[in-house]
């Protein structure tokens, strides 16, 4: 039995301890915003927040997460995420859309730690998130504009 806190709820699960968080989220809790892309920590589609940090849920066994705060896109409603989602829409970012939740989760984790990232820092932070549709250019613009917008709001 593993005890986790997911999206503000205490969850008790009988799944085997080696089960990656991704499959608890998707198959048991039906939280399907978090996607499966590779199962190997290579693509970022499965990104969630653990204590506010971007984590690849496909390679994180549930046993390693007891006592941690896990959040998925269904629950993250910070001002930052709202601002990011707005810019994602302004720039018409998604194509197939499959990678986008993972992109947003990584982007919000980045801007949490670094309010004014350079292009290079954005490229580094986002390098683990693949988009086969090639929306990278728009993702960069959306992140930069979110950072700019939040900076002016703070001033």
């Amino acid at each position: 039995m593993t005890k986790l806190n997911i999206n503000g709820n205490d969850i008790h699960t009988e799944l085997s301890a080696d089960t990656p968080l991704l499959w608890l989220l998707r198959d048991e809790l039906k939280l399907t915003a978090t996607k499966f892309g590779c199962g190997l920590g290579q693509c970022g589609a499965c990104t969630v927040h653990v204590n506010g940090q971007a984590v690849r849920s496909c390679i994180t066994p549930i046993a390693s997460l007891s006592g941690q705060t896990i959040e998925t896109m269904e629950h993250v409603n910070t001002e930052l995420m709202t601002a990011l989602k707005r810019q994602w829409q302004v720039h018409n970012v998604p194509q197939c859309g499959y990678c986008q939740v993972g992109q947003l989760m990584t982007a919000s984790s980045l801007l949490n730690q670094n309010q004014q990232p350079s292009i290079h820092e954005i490229e580094q932070a986002m390098s683990g998130n693949i988009c086969r549709c090639g929306t990278y250019g728009r993702i960069k613009t959306a992140i930069l504009q979110t950072a700019e917008q939040l900076a002016t709001e703070i001033k």
């Binding site: 999206n7 709820n9 969850i11 799944l15 085997s16 080696d18 089960t19 990656p20 499959w23 998707r26 198959d27 048991e28 809790l29 039906k30 939280l31 399907t32 915003a33 978090t34 996607k35 499966f36 892309g37 590779c38 199962g39 190997l40 290579q42 693509c43 589609a45 998925t72 896109m73 269904e74 629950h75 989602k85 994602w88 829409q89 018409n92 998604p94 194509q95 197939c96 859309g97 499959y98 990678c99 986008q100 939740v101 947003l104 954005i122 490229e123 986002m126 390098s127 998130n129 693949i130 988009c131 086969r132 549709c133 090639g134 929306t135 990278y136 250019g137 728009r138 993702i139 960069k140």
Partner: protein, 718 residues
């Protein structure tokens, strides 16, 4: 008047709401879904047409009938529908993904960037016909004739009195049977929706994560299935022992299916963990000794032998005449996998005498026929619901994963969801076939005088995306298309092919054969231009007579006049086109690629793309497709490698078949035409232009011609 799709969606919602509620109240459910629930309320008052539902509150629900894989058909085709319907974009409530239904939706196979071409007629006609029915309904109310009313942005106006009725107000009165006869459509000058950058209709749900992809389908008592497939193509299960695998908690059943051994469990992790414990003896078959480097070597040898002539004009013997210079270039291209972001998957619910399927498929109608065959049901008894798809790139035109899911579902009264791992996806793809090519050219007076193009590759006929064309010569066209026609005016022209039977599943991939045949052609054209010391665009212009093509090239040339290259930059160009012998299928594009030498290597920095693919439906959507095509080309040229050893694919995931990441994104500068011709999609039509443009730029930088992929930086001195 019950809407079958609505019923199933409603059932789905009701049941998932309950099951997830048990665990985790409300969290999995959001606004997107409740919109559908709300719709029930005014459904009685709604008028249902083939492609849309007109609600009494004047809002419109559109059914998207073609595969939405990111290319934006849900948006662009709604624009076509709304144009001739003369509806206000504000009326659009939602666009739902449709289902396979040839009687209602016409042709639905979404390949070859033909959606806009088809919808240019189909969707616009439906829009125009509903518009007529609405005017007729209003005429009945007002006792007027058609000439005394007109529509504008969702209302019908009485020209005599100035009164008006909204489409919504007419929804209770309007006839819903569409007239048979074709109607006149709007002229481009009066377009108000076509040509506008409407934001994607699926934007919000794709940002929130509520968009339902195939993998996200959830049903009561749903179990997850995985299949262990023979690592060697064409291999079969000889025997298997599931003793250890069956011990994994949650495993329901393990059994043989035609493609391997299926494991069904409560969740994916249990299924995949059990699969690892299966002891399977495979009957590997004859292919177990085959390796791709040997196949390629054989293909290269075949180029020395005469092949089957598939196109000829003039006298190709003149190639050998002692005239001007002759140039011969050989090329070779590897296997390429699609690697869609969402791996293959399919959910099947077999009930007594009928079946419901949810599948991310580009080919819902073929999927319906194939499923009906496997399940021994009449086609009408199989409903194939289309979900959003995490990329398609041609992979989802195949129905193998749907057929496989049907075989598994046969064993159960409850629904099953077949899930492929990334490894399954890469190792059991329908690859772009590997191939060798040779182009031999003779110039006369600086113009192309004789041109021979030879292609040696695997036949794609057995795996053609259309069931109808499987095993026919037309199923092979995708293996060499592009080599058999030219817009360059060449008197003496010949195409020869060597097509070998492939035990390896091969098929269509974004750009099909043009991705490699045009690569070869445009590289050779570049080399010829250099030999005669001509400007690369001037040289092309000198051999082309098609006006639309000339304009595309000239527009690029004009833009290039203002481009100043930095010291570490080089530029290459290429031209692309297709033109069917008859009918509206044609497009023209030209690309200039600018690459830069950075500290470690070469990087594709910017593309300038000039194109005329007919009427632009959604400019920003078009730009997105070009941007995506650029990144896709970079992946294919500098990353992805698929090789076969002993009948097995050697790569397994993104770490050993890498794709472009964010640092490799490419700036795009798009020059469009103001064409009002039939629109062609652009999604797959640029690979054969972008890639040789990049290759030609690399030549400028390094002095070396790129004749094989992926680009080998070590040989470029990078």
């Amino acid at each position: 008047m019950s809407h079958p799709h609505l019923q199933s969606r409603r059932l789905f919602l009701k049941l998932t709401a309950t099951t997830s509620g048990l665990l985790f109240s409300g969290l999995a459910f959001t606004a997107e879904n409740s919109a559908i629930v709300n719709r029930q309320n005014d459904e009685e008052n709604a008028a249902q047409f083939p492609l849309l539902i007109l609600h009494a509150d004047n809002s419109i629900t559109v059914i998207n009938t073609r595969a939405e894989m990111g290319q934006g058909v849900s948006t662009s085709l709604t624009q076509l529908l709304f144009e001739d319907l003369d509806a206000d974009w504000q009326q659009l409530k939602t666009v739902e993904q449709g289902w396979a239904d040839d009687t209602r939706f016409g042709h639905q196979n979404t390949i070859g960037a033909i959606s806009s071409l088809i919808a240019w007629n189909f969707h616009r006609q439906v829009g125009a016909k509903i518009n007529l029915l609405l005017r007729e309904a209003a005429c009945k109310v007002w006792k007027l004739s058609l000439s005394e009313v007109k529509t504008n942005q969702g209302v019908v106006t009485n020209l005599k009195t100035g009164q008006y009725l909204t489409y919504g107000q007419l929804s209770k009165l309007v006839q819903t049977d569409l007239p048979k006869d074709k109607l006149a459509l709007k002229q481009p000058a009066s377009f108000s929706v076509i040509g506008q950058s409407k934001p994607r209709v699926d934007l919000l749900e794709k940002v929130n994560g509520t968009a339902m992809f195939g993998l996200d389908v959830n049903l009561p008592q749903l179990k997850v299935a995985v299949v262990a497939r023979c690592p060697v193509f064409g291999g079969k299960v000889q025997s298997f022992d599931a003793t250890e695998a069956a011990k994994i908690k949650g495993v329901q059943q393990i059994f043989a299916v035609p493609s391997g051994v299926a494991v069904v469990a409560d969740n994916y992790w249990q299924a995949i963990s059990a699969r690892k414990l299966l002891q399977i003896t495979w009957q590997e078959g004859d292919f177990a000794t085959v390796s791709s480097n040997e196949v390629l070597a054989e293909f290269k040898q075949l180029l020395d032998a005469p092949g089957k002539v598939v196109k000829e004009q003039g006298d190709i013997a003149l190639l050998d005449e002692k005239k001007e210079r002759i140039l011969t270039r050989d090329f070779e291209f590897p296997l390429v996998a699609h690697m869609t972001m969402e791996p293959m998957n399919c959910t099947v619910w077999l009930k007594a005498g009928s079946c419901e399927i949810w599948a991310p498929t580009q080919n819902s109608q073929d999927a319906q026929s194939s499923a009906a065959k496997v399940l021994s049901l009449a086609k009408e008894k199989v409903r194939v619901n289309m979900t959003y798809m995490g990329g398609g790139f041609g992979r989802r035109a195949q129905d193998d994963f749907i057929v496989e899911a049907c075989y598994i579902a046969k064993k159960f009264a409850h629904p099953i969801k077949l899930v492929w791992s990334r490894e399954d996806d890469i190792q059991h793809d329908f690859y772009r076939p590997l191939n060798a090519q040779r182009i031999s050219v003779r110039l006369d007076n600086n113009k192309i005088y004789a041109w021979q193009h030879k292609v040696a590759t695997y036949s794609t006929s057995p795996y053609h995306f259309s069931l109808r064309d499987r095993g026919t010569p037309s199923g092979d066209w995708v293996a060499y298309g592009g080599a058999d026609s030219s817009l360059y005016q060449i008197e003496n022209f010949q195409t020869q092919v060597h097509l070998q039977e492939s035990p390896l599943t091969v098929g269509i991939l974004r750009g099909i054969s043009h991705g490699y045949t045009h690569f070869a052609i445009e590289s050779v054209i570049d080399e010829l231009a250099e030999q005669v010391a001509a400007d690369a665009i001037d040289f092309r212009l000198a051999q082309i007579t098609e006006t639309r093509a000339i304009k595309v090239l000239q527009r690029l040339q004009t833009r290039l006049a203002n481009v100043v290259l930095q010291d570490n930059e080089s530029l290459g160009v290429a031209f692309g086109h297709e033109k069917a012998p008859s009918g509206p299928y044609q497009y023209y594009n030209a690309v200039a690629a600018i690459i830069e030498r950075t500290a470690e290597r070469y990087r594709v920095k910017r593309l300038i793309v000039s194109l005329d693919h007919g009427q632009v439906i959604n400019p920003d959507g078009l730009l997105a497709q070009v941007q995506g095509s650029a990144v896709f080309a970079v992946s294919m040229m500098f990353g992805q490698a698929i090789t076969l050893k002993n009948g097995r694919i050697e790569q397994s995931n993104f770490h050993d078949s890498p794709v472009a990441r964010i640092a490799q994104s490419v700036e795009v500068d798009l020059l469009t035409s103001d064409s009002t011709e039939w629109p062609m999609g652009v999604g797959e039509k640029l690979q054969g232009t972008i890639q040789p443009a990049i290759a030609n730029a690399l030549y400028r930088a390094t002095g070396q011609r790129i004749t094989s992929l992926p680009v080998d930086f070590s040989s470029l001195g990078a």
